[in-house]
Symmetry: C2
Subunit: 346 residues, 2 copies
């Protein structure tokens, strides 16, 4: 287990390399626990997420750097979905003996890159050997103004339904990766290089590998004061919409014509004969936000998002006419949307 | 993955069953993240630990209940080692398809039992399927008075070295479990029943399966104000002593004659021809605390521990004469102590 001494070294940055986020650490990595400050008057926000080899990624779909980035990003996204500011992260790894130390260095490079991007301090962790596959569990702490966390249960009939970006791109990127990985010329156990794809598809692949959580959008929504319902799209638009509908005890009626479809997603779906809408509804890991807002708060919110250069799209209306989620298609027909979410590729 | 709906049910206790610790949760399990209060003026303490099937436990050494208890206990112990009060926990599970839902119920029963015992609120988690084995990662948050966390680096030459209990019992219990599991009559893939052991050995087995972290001792040491160095013995006395010596830049000279040996540990070691001292030095997972204190603070600390019915033993002295850890044996010979810690049984 001598490589775990290296981990300690990797995670213990010299003082000169401390980020602003890391200066809040009273005690960092290296003792039994980390000690940090919470901004006075704020509430503490906590979440964790696990990525498992051959469930959430495999050796062809993701590099070690990507795995690190995405494990951090999925947790930062949970903070975004609460309207919270992410602050600290703990990283628990189980590592097969077949993974050499320099590949763990790449994984930490990805973790740190995403942490730095979102102002998160790596505060601790645990690295354990395993006879199984690589798993990465990240716990993120954040903070939020008291009583202001944005919950799934806040949707009310009459509210507008919105998204803060273009969902489905990660699922399309995964489709492209799996197709490339299945080709006979693909190297075994090596991540497919992004240069193997034409530029528009490369963007979809990057969306799958290094998603960007919507922290600024979450903070903007909280600052607006209209107490939106909010979820991040980690398991597909349909499953996240169902969670809001069930938690809030109302229905969500979505309009297909209003759901934003990224041009490169549309082009790729057309090229491979797939449905962009299906990827949007049942794909996941885009980490754009889905929420609802009172009708009267929509105009000012849309303006505020535009002023910050953040995407914002109205895609439907909350209703008391039914429970669950329904979709008005391009054809004008209204039909139920299944709850099924992202099944990964396992 | 329908059993994961059950997990959500298992972890979401009805309001009537909320413990005092859980009333501090502003938002509990069921949203993107939990929201909780930190006591005003306190600092936040964070740690995580992972238990991996066939590394930290196997189907014979631990029941699902024990796995849950111990995963929580190891993290609560990290809070004890900082002098902190444990508050919240997040539980990330990776679960093989072969584990039925009712066995996860047992695991959660163990997690909750230990959490309740130490005033910890289960605040969230993530449950993922895996093609590998069961892993349990618990993250615990706690709180501590500002600037008062008890660090490994606080030992000074001349300090007394102490332990807050009888180390080595867990390693002896594991020895008994492995011996029983190797017998031809042992049921495959079933935890060895504790009734299979005579009462004194049963206590050692219980110490391995359901260790009791030393939160009260940690708080007592912090309250004393003498700023001790502190570690919990998760990897054996030698490895923890080395951590204090290295972090503090001094030596620790231990006296074998002063190291407390539980009578049932001595009896079992004699019966099987093993060395109790070896288990104490290189076994682990006892979760008693090892620390140092200025000489002048020892008497009042020993009295305070006695008044609370907590064990407290002086076992040596910190020194500037060498770096690392040395032991004066019963024979009066002084010899170096290897850094090697607990190797589990993998």
């Amino acid at each position: 287990m001598e490589e775990f001494a290296l981990i300690r070294h990797l995670t213990d940055r010299p003082p000169g390399r401390r980020t602003a986020a890391e200066t809040h650490l009273v005690v960092g990595i290296g003792d039994d626990a980390a000690v940090t400050e919470l901004t006075p008057g704020m509430q503490l926000v906590l979440s964790c997420d696990t990525m498992v080899q051959d469930v959430h990624f495999n050796s062809k779909t993701m590099s070690m750097y990507d795995i690190g980035w995405k494990a951090m990003a999925s947790n930062v996204s949970d903070m975004a979905a609460m309207g919270a500011v992410p602050r600290n992260a703990l990283v628990a790894l189980t590592v097969p003996a077949s993974v050499p130390a320099d590949r763990l260095r790449e994984l930490y490079a990805g973790l740190y890159a995403c942490a730095d991007r979102y102002g998160v301090a790596l505060a601790g962790g645990d690295t354990t050997s395993t006879p199984g596959g690589l798993t990465v569990t990240v716990t993120v702490t954040g903070e939020v103004e008291p009583g202001r966390a944005l919950l799934r249960s806040a949707a009310r009939p009459g509210d507008a339904v919105f998204v803060t970006g273009w969902p489905g791109r990660s699922a399309a990127g995964l489709h492209a990766l799996l197709a490339a990985g299945a080709r006979p010329e693909a190297a075994a156990d090596e991540p497919i290089p992004e240069e193997a794809f034409p530029p528009p598809v490369r963007g979809l692949v990057a969306a799958h590998r290094r998603p960007e959580p919507s922290v600024a959008a979450g903070r903007r929504l909280l600052a607006g004061g209209a107490a939106p319902a909010l979820n991040d799209i980690s398991d597909g638009l349909s499953s996240e919409a169902w969670e809001i509908a069930e938690a809030s005890g109302c229905g969500l009626l979505l309009r297909e014509a209003d759901i934003p479809v990224a041009p490169e997603l549309k082009a790729y779906a057309d090229a491979v004969g797939a449905s962009a809408l299906e990827w949007i509804l049942t794909g996941g890991e885009d980490y754009v936000l889905l929420g609802t807002l009172p009708e009267e708060a929509m105009a000012v919110t849309a303006e505020a998002f535009a002023a910050e250069g953040l995407p914002f799209f109205r895609i439907g209306t909350a209703t008391s006419a039914f429970a669950g989620v329904r979709l008005v298609g391009i054809d004008g027909e209204e039909r139920p949307v299944a709850k099924s979410g992202y099944n990964h590729f396992g």
